[in-house]
Structures are given as C-alpha cells and as structure tokens.
C-alpha cells in the first residue's frame, strides 16, 4: 500500500536511494509479498531484482525536493524495517487523511475506512499526537488547539507521551517563502497519519567523529558512513571490504549493521601503528563494542595481493578513494622508477627486513580503474560497489559522466556539494555480469576512452588545483561580491 514517507531535510540526493536500497535488503523485490490491492505492474522490472526500484509519487503541488513523498511498499512490516534502519527517514506513516484545509482533512479522515482506524483507537491502547510543520513554527498553544480540533477522531485510549503504543502525527506545510532553499509551496497541505517507523538518529551522536579515539584527516563522518553502509546493504553474514580503510570509519558503520569487515591500506602507520596501543583501527571498533575486522592488511590497491583464481568473495566494496584534494593516493614503486628514468633499486639483502619501499603518486583515473577491476572480480553477483567520486562544478551543473564497467550497472548517484567548486558523488553500482579476462580488457579500453573524453582533471593534481587555486584576481573581487549577493543561487536544495 501507499505510505507517506517524510524525510529529514538534508542530503536530498541520498534520501530515495537509501529507501530503495533498504527495500532491496529487506526483500521487497523478492516477489509474492505485495499487498493484493497493489498494482505492481508499474514497478520498474527488467527481470533483475538487484536493479528494481520502488514506486514514488509527490503530494499535490510539491517540489521533488520536498520532504514529503508517497512510496508504495509491500507491507507495513517492510515499511517499519526500512524506516527503522534508515538514517534520513523522519517517519513512514499510514496516511489517514490529507487536505488543503483542516476542514478538508476532517472530511478525508472521516472517509478513511473504520477497519483501518479503529484497531488503533481502542480503549486498551495508549497514544500520542505530535504536531509538526515544515518551514514554519507552530506555537505551543496553536499545537494544542490543533490537537483538540481532532476530537472528531474517536480516540478511546489513554494518552502516553513517553512510550505510546501508537503515535499519530499532524503535519503541515505552508507557504514559507523561499528562505529554506526550496521553491515556495503553492498551497498549504496538511497530513494526518499513524507512524509506522522512523530513523534511529541517536546512532549519530553515538558514532560522531568528535568522540572517536582514532581519527585521520579524511575520516568519514558518521552519518555519511551509515548511508554508505545502507547503500551497500551491509547485514549480518555479509563480508564488506574497504581497500582504502584508513582509520576504519566506513567499516565501523558496516560492522554496526552486523557485516563482517576487511580493510586494506597502503599506509602502515595508519593500519598498524595508529597513535598507540589504545588508539588505532582496532580500538575504534572496540570503542563501540563492535566485532573487530576479520582482516586488516597493508596492501597496494594497484597491485592487490589476492591469489590467482580467487573471485566473488565480497558482498560489498565500500570506500572513499583518495582523490588528491585532502589526501592523495600512493602506489608501489618510486616516481622515477615508474617513468622508466631509473632502473629498480635493488635492496641489499641485509636491509630487506625493515626496508621501507618508495611509493609514487596514484592518480584518480588509475585508482578508479583499479577499484572497478577489483570490485568486478571480487564481488559476488549482485554485490555492490559504493564509492565517492569527485566532480568539478561549473555553473551549478556537474558533469554527469561517471566511470563505467561492463560488469556493473549504476543504480544511484547522490551528489553532496562540498564547495562552490566541487562536489563528491556517492556512486552505487551493482554487479550484474560475471568477471572474465576479456571483460577486464574491454573495461580497461573503455576506461581509457573515458579518461580521454572527460577527465583531464583526474590527472595528477589537477583536481586539487581546481579546488584550491585562488579566484582570478581580475574578476576576483567583483565575482566574489556578486556571488555573495545577487548571483547567490536562490535555489540551493542540495546544500542542505
């Protein structure tokens, strides 16, 4: 049936893909589980449940970036599981009525079938009504008035504000102007519904980075790490790999959802030593009482040490590759060596044990190619590759060409704007074809074309230059002033 799905008003691009992923995780597309009244023919179905998607619609006159959406889900149980596991779903509600005025709302609620309402209004149950609004504040008195005006609903139970059996919500949107980054609502809309489930945002303060013992300069913030873990369908019994593990911030989120984790990093200081015996990657897991990663290893993503023939072991690969803005990638072999300027340095036998091999810069193009190749080989069929990919922003539009691989289908791309100059996009890809040597070769050629056509800035340092170079001094002052006032984008949905 249709549920009202209200989101937290942030990370707009990430909201629907999270719900889609969780629907997949909880088996919404496995068939047979849809309500009989459901018209499932509209569901996008190309025969592959890994890439199926849900049906959505918007309330009348709402902008796609509005927090209010309707989503079709097979069962209330499914809706509850999705909402409770999510990070961005403020609530999923069984809608009892909606209208442009309170009179219309009353009419709608009265028309809603009694057999759907009465079981939640019995005298044995306790309940609570919350009044909420989007884009404006409703005073306490007004809230109480609104609640009292609902007296036409035959509530028989007792009120319990702490632990009610049933939670009801009265939610309003009103014309709030354009101050919050959304185009103004055309008309006021009021919703009344019964809460089915909601996100557990208490996770976020528990896992927030500022209370984590061991941090690196690019540790993934907790909310984003959980979103990545949800995109990757992390769950008990699954094995998740992060080839750029760093301080483990992404794997912690995956481990919280019960997945087994493995990580690799080229920097031994990060993975082995940390900042002391109780301040390293292991201690970060211990801090939250999570199971330790199955393995941490020092390895080079450019020359991964997996045995020949090993494939399809990971259920997901999640990572934030080094794109050279805040931290650059490294790979084995000295700079001069790889250019062929000098021959390989032969390490004397007596120095081999503690030798620290030199590394060279690892450009993003190469890094992304190696990542796709590794994931194509090591993911199980239907496994997911979830990673961040930086893009330069010009005139508020981004280049929407993302890396491709014949084994993968891109199912979600979620932009997070980092500055006026660049964004990062969380790409979620599903493995839809088996990996063979021929495919690897064709992927390599495809990747080279991709690099030629789109990605000059992926080369060494170009992205960093583009992000950090000072504005053109000629235009600088004027342009900045302009940016500050007039041309400041009125619509800034993705900034929230």
């Amino acid at each position: 049936m249709w549920y009202l799905c209200v989101f937290y008003h942030r990370l707009l691009d990430y909201r629907k893909p999270e719900v889609e992923s969780l629907a997949n995780l909880f088996g919404a597309f496995n068939g047979g589980d849809w309500d009989s009244d459901g018209d499932s023919s509209n569901r996008e179905n190309n025969g592959n449940i890994e890439t199926m998607s849900l049906q959505w619609r918007l309330p009348e006159n709402h902008h796609p970036d509005s927090p209010f959406h309707f989503v079709y889900l097979p069962s209330e149980d499914m809706a509850r599981k999705i909402a409770n596991r999510s990070i961005l779903v403020k609530g999923v509600y069984e809608l009892w009525g909606e209208g442009n005025t309170h009179e219309e709302l009353e009419e709608a609620i009265k028309l809603y079938p009694d057999d759907r309402k009465l079981p939640y209004l019995t005298s044995e149950s306790t309940f609570k009504i919350t009044v909420d609004s989007f884009g404006k504040v409703i005073s306490f008195e007004e809230q109480n008035d609104r609640i009292r005006s609902l007296s036409y609903i035959p509530f028989k139970g007792r009120v319990n504000l702490r632990t009610p059996d049933h939670k009801f919500w009265l939610m309003e949107t009103d014309d709030y102007g354009s101050n919050n980054g959304l185009p103004p609502v055309v008309q006021k809309r009021i919703f009344f519904g019964r809460e089915v489930g909601s996100a557990d945002r208490k996770l976020l303060p528990t896992y927030q980075l500022k209370s984590r013992t061991y941090l690196g300069p690019t540790a993934m913030d907790a909310e984003m790490a959980f979103l990545m873990a949800n995109q990757a369908l992390a769950a008990p019994g699954k094995l998740v790999y992060d080839p750029f593990v760093g301080t483990g911030s992404i794997l912690i989120a995956a481990a919280h959802f019960g997945a087994m984790t493995m990580g690799a990093d080229i920097d031994i200081r990060v993975v082995r030593d940390g900042r002391g015996p109780n301040c390293n990657v292991w201690s970060n897991f211990k801090q939250y009482g999570l199971p330790m990663p199955l393995a941490l290893l020092r390895a080079d993503n450019n020359l991964p040490p997996w045995r020949p023939g090993l494939k399809e072991v990971f259920d997901a690969v999640i990572c934030d590759p080094p794109y050279g803005v805040r931290a650059g990638g490294r790979k084995s072999g000295g700079r001069k060596l790889l250019k062929g300027v000098v021959g390989p340095y032969t390490v004397p036998d007596d120095k081999r044990t503690d030798h620290i091999p030199s590394t060279a810069a690892y450009s993003l193009v190469e890094c992304v190619h190696d990542l796709l190749d590794l994931a194509a080989r090591m993911l199980v069929m239907g496994g997911r590759l979830v990673f961040f990919y930086p893009v330069l922003r010009e005139d508020d539009t981004i280049d929407t060409h993302f890396p491709e691989h014949p084994c993968f289908e891109l199912i979600a791309s979620c932009e997070q704007i980092l500055s006026l100059r660049y964004s990062r996009v969380l790409l979620t890809m599903v493995k839809i074809g088996p990996y063979t040597e021929e495919i690897a070769e064709s992927a390599r050629i495809k990747h080279l074309e991709f690099k030629e056509n789109h990605l000059k800035w992926l080369e060494d340092g170009n992205l960093r230059t583009a992000v950090f170079s000072p504005a053109d001094p000629q235009l600088g002052g004027a342009a900045d002033a302009k940016l500050g006032k007039d041309s400041k984008p009125k619509y800034r949905g993705k900034y929230v």
């Binding site: 019994g237 087994m260 199955l294 393995a295 290893l297 390490v347």
Partner: protein, 122 residues
C-alpha cells in the same frame, strides 16, 4: 591475521607464478573469539582453498580439520565449529608469510600482514 585472510593472499612479486599458498612462520598465535555464523561459513566455504587452509591450520598448531572436505559436510555442526575456529578465530599475531617460490618474507606484525612490495619486485 586470520587464516581466512591467509587463504586469500598470495605473493604477487613480479614474475612469480606460484605465489600461493604462502608458508606460515608463526611466532605468536592467539585466539580471538568471533560470533559463530553458519550462514557466513556456508557462503564462504566454496571460495576456500581447502588444502591451503588445512596446511595453514597445522602450521599454527590446529589439527582438527579433515584432509578433504565437501559441501555435504556443512550439514554437520561439528564440522562448522572446527571450520569456524580455523578460519576465523585463530589469529597469527606475529610472524611472517613466506613466498613459496622466492622465499621472500612478508612480515606480520600486530596481526597485520605487510604485503607491500619492494621497488625491485613490482
């Protein structure tokens, strides 16, 4: 380093063709408890190189695994427990992995194998 990891790794020195399985030089082996998850074991079983696992388990002093195994044995709880212990709970804390072809030692410190190659090996 768990034996599961050992089972996945090989020496990838340039020119080496038989880099698997790496021999284990154990200095310190510890047991780290891991939650028993039979589904995970059943999923991972087909990917395991059994001979290498048995040899590795013996190298760290665990001899409870049979010489050969097939999927039918996954029905047995006993077998699963032994597999769980060998694969996930035995931990090579200090020691080395040795390339079977060249004898190159990949050190394992604090449970983390260092698989990075030297300049003359890439």
């Amino acid at each position: 380093m768990r034996l599961l990891t050992h089972n996945m790794l090989s020496s990838n020195i340039k020119g080496v063709t038989n880099g698997f399985p790496l021999l284990i030089e154990a200095e310190k082996v510890v047991e780290k408890p891991v939650d028993f998850n039979p589904d995970f074991l059943r999923n991972i079983f087909p990917k395991i190189d059994w001979k290498a696992l048995v040899a590795a388990a013996r190298a760290v002093g665990y001899g409870e695994l049979p010489d050969t195994a097939d999927a039918a044995m996954l029905e047995s709880d006993d077998f699963l427990r032994h597999l769980h212990h060998a694969l996930l709970q035995l931990h090579l804390e200090e020691g080395a992995l040795v390339c079977p072809e060249t004898g190159r030692r990949f050190p394992v410190n604090k449970g983390i194998p260092n698989m990075l190659l030297h300049e003359d090996e890439v």
